[in-house]
């Protein structure tokens, strides 16, 4: 029994953090709000991260969710804009496990985004080479040139959402199990990003309340502030091992993966919500200003907490899994 990441996995997280510290500081996230700017993408591609989940023969590293978990956490930590989760954690594995080699060869070269049932919008659809769409339990491919892509404004402007409609779609697969796994991968990826976002908000808040003085002392020396931050920290510390356990379950295709994924997404969503609320309250007015960066993380956290199943959605799935028949 060893519940920890390998040295290689930790090293990849370190590399990711280095790239994102350099290429995706808050100014870059802000730039993505106003421009159609995708920070760090080429550096992440060059580092082999963007396509890491593709099989080696298609230019990837055959990475699984355990390899991805810390990378996605780092993406959340930096509030990285763009389709890393959709492309790397969901679309590539979905194509790789449902399509023949010729199709893989064709699709895995370009940016993939994906719309699973239940999610009304697609992120970065306007940039994608191929848009994957789940419809009635089938997986279809859409060429963006055949599609009407209508941009939608998210409260987090760095998320470039759109609705996608197209008459011309190509059936890729009817493997419902693979699609079910794709849902779980999307929820897992969001959970990993959420714990990263939550940690970043707590860290940033700790820095601020250590410096900010009121009543002649650091705001962070007040017990009320300490306890709020401690509670948020505990929530994140409990969510993280659940996210890691979900990664393990997905990587090993365990039959209980849905249970572990729902646990992870529910706790990570709630932890990120709590961290956002705590961060704002402990900052006071400054955190409420648009010029201060906190809201870049907060709004991402709100969006991802609601995406791919809210905490309540995942608890409902758990109720069915745990309580079965008895759950009316």
């Amino acid at each position: 029994m060893r519940f920890a990441f390998t040295d290689e996995q930790q090293e990849l997280a370190r590399v990711t953090r280095e790239i994102l510290t350099r290429e995706c500081p808050p100014t870059a996230v802000r730039k993505a709000w106003t421009d159609d700017h995708l920070p760090a993408w080429s550096a992440l591609t060059a580092a082999g991260i963007v396509n890491m989940t593709a099989p080696e023969r298609f230019g990837g590293a055959g990475a699984n969710e355990l390899d991805l978990a810390l990378v996605l956490e780092e993406a959340g930590r930096a509030a990285l804009p763009g389709p890393l989760a959709a492309h790397t954690a969901v679309a590539i594995p979905l194509v790789a496990e449902t399509c023949d080699d010729a199709t893989c060869d064709r699709l895995l070269g370009g940016l993939l985004v994906v719309q699973l049932e239940g999610m009304p919008f697609v992120e970065s659809a306007h940039r994608a080479r191929t848009i994957l769409v789940e419809k009635h339990g089938e997986l279809h491919a859409i060429d963006p040139r055949d599609a009407t892509i209508e941009m939608q404004r998210s409260v987090d402007r760095a998320r470039k959402l759109a609705t996608v409609t197209s008459r011309k779609t190509t059936l890729l697969s009817s493997d419902r199990e693979a699609l079910r796994r794709a849902h779980d991968r999307a929820a897992f990826a969001a959970a990993a990003e959420l714990t990263g976002l939550a940690r970043a908000m707590i860290e940033r808040t700790v820095e601020y309340v250590t410096i900010r003085k009121q009543f002649g002392r650091a705001v962070g020396s007040f017990q009320a502030v300490k306890h709020m931050l401690a509670e948020a920290h505990v929530a994140v510390e409990l969510a993280r091992p659940c996210v890691h356990r979900a990664a393990y379950a997905l990587a090993h295709r365990e039959p209980d993966a849905p249970r572990d994924v729902s646990l992870a997404k529910a706790l990570a969503s709630d932890a990120a919500h709590l961290a956002a609320k705590t961060a704002l309250q402990c900052h006071g007015a400054i955190g409420y200003s648009f010029e201060y960066d906190l809201h870049l993380w907060m709004k991402r956290a709100w969006a991802l907490a609601a995406a791919h199943g809210s905490a309540a959605d995942h608890r409902t799935r758990l109720a069915h899994l745990l309580l079965g028949e008895a759950h009316v």
């Binding site: 998210s154 309250q281 006071g284 200003s289 648009f290 609601a306």
Partner: protein, 376 residues
Amino acid sequence: MDLRFTDEEEQFRAEARAWLRAHAPRDLGSTGTREGWDAHVAWEKQLYAAGYAVVAWPRAFGGRDASITEWLIFEEEYYLAGAPPRVTQNGIFLLAPALFEYGTDEQKARLLPKMAAAETLWAQGWSEPGAGSDLAAVSSTARRVDGGWILSGQKTWSTRGIFCHALHGLFRSDPSAPRHKGLTYFLVPLDAPGVRVRGFARLDGDLDFAEVFFDDVLVSDRDVLGQPGDGWRVAMATTGSERGLTLRSPGRFLASASRLIDLYRRTPDPRVADEVVRAWMDARAYELLTLQAVTKLVDGAALGASSSVHKLAWSELDVRLHEAALALLGPHAELDDGAWIKGWQFALAGPIYAGTNEIQKNVIAERLLGLPKEEK
């Protein structure tokens, strides 16, 4: 106990309701834009013309001598009609109570009618970069000179302060006095030489805050509210005012709860039903708390520190109510196109402004429950 309203009160309600439903505009745009601001001011002038701007004020100043109960009725109808936020708020709810208590007759006659008529729009100048929860740390100064005062320093977080004509706020006039003693309350024209106003955006991106810089701004003695050195007491008249933020209109939250119930009916989700019910419960409980307080006020009692209970109640229920709405909207909630995501961000300010909820809990613990102060 008699919860019926008098015939006169019911009559007043019917008139207010009819007028508001006929006239209340929707979607006036953001008060952070010139256009939106002007539209809001126009609405204030329309309210004033109809006699609804400041119902509880004396007629002499533009009001209609309404009782506190009628004021509450008006507020309820105002929000039920979905009427816009009031850009006169920093004047009529925050400054006016202090003016009524500490203003000279000359000041009242000069300032109140224009405030009521939305001819003078007021900004609040309390917070500073270094004085938030610790309001008494104000470091903007007022220096006595011949025939007046010279103001210097910086105010910030002045809500809807960009397009205002005047500012009311605290300045340190005696740096040698104890923290709470050396403050004076000033009323400052924002077109005075040396004043600079910079707008900045709040959480939702609306340009709705202002920083105000004072670079040796000369004001006269008649711009002092109350006695020099008595600024803290004047400010407290504002925060303790029963018709200001303390009795923050229950109508606003009942109206929100009612919109939430409508939303539930359109997009029912049994898992959220309990949160919708709780939102209504909290709003209703807050209304009843307010009615109880109104009766106490009518009986001549002061609310004092119990206003902190009210602040906690409305600010927390507002956050919770919007959380329930976002839960109903699911993944659509993040779309920045609706009243709920806007309202949610607005609600998040509630636990911070007008004294953070942590400060309010200190007040409740120390002044209502009698727990010992933290030793310095």
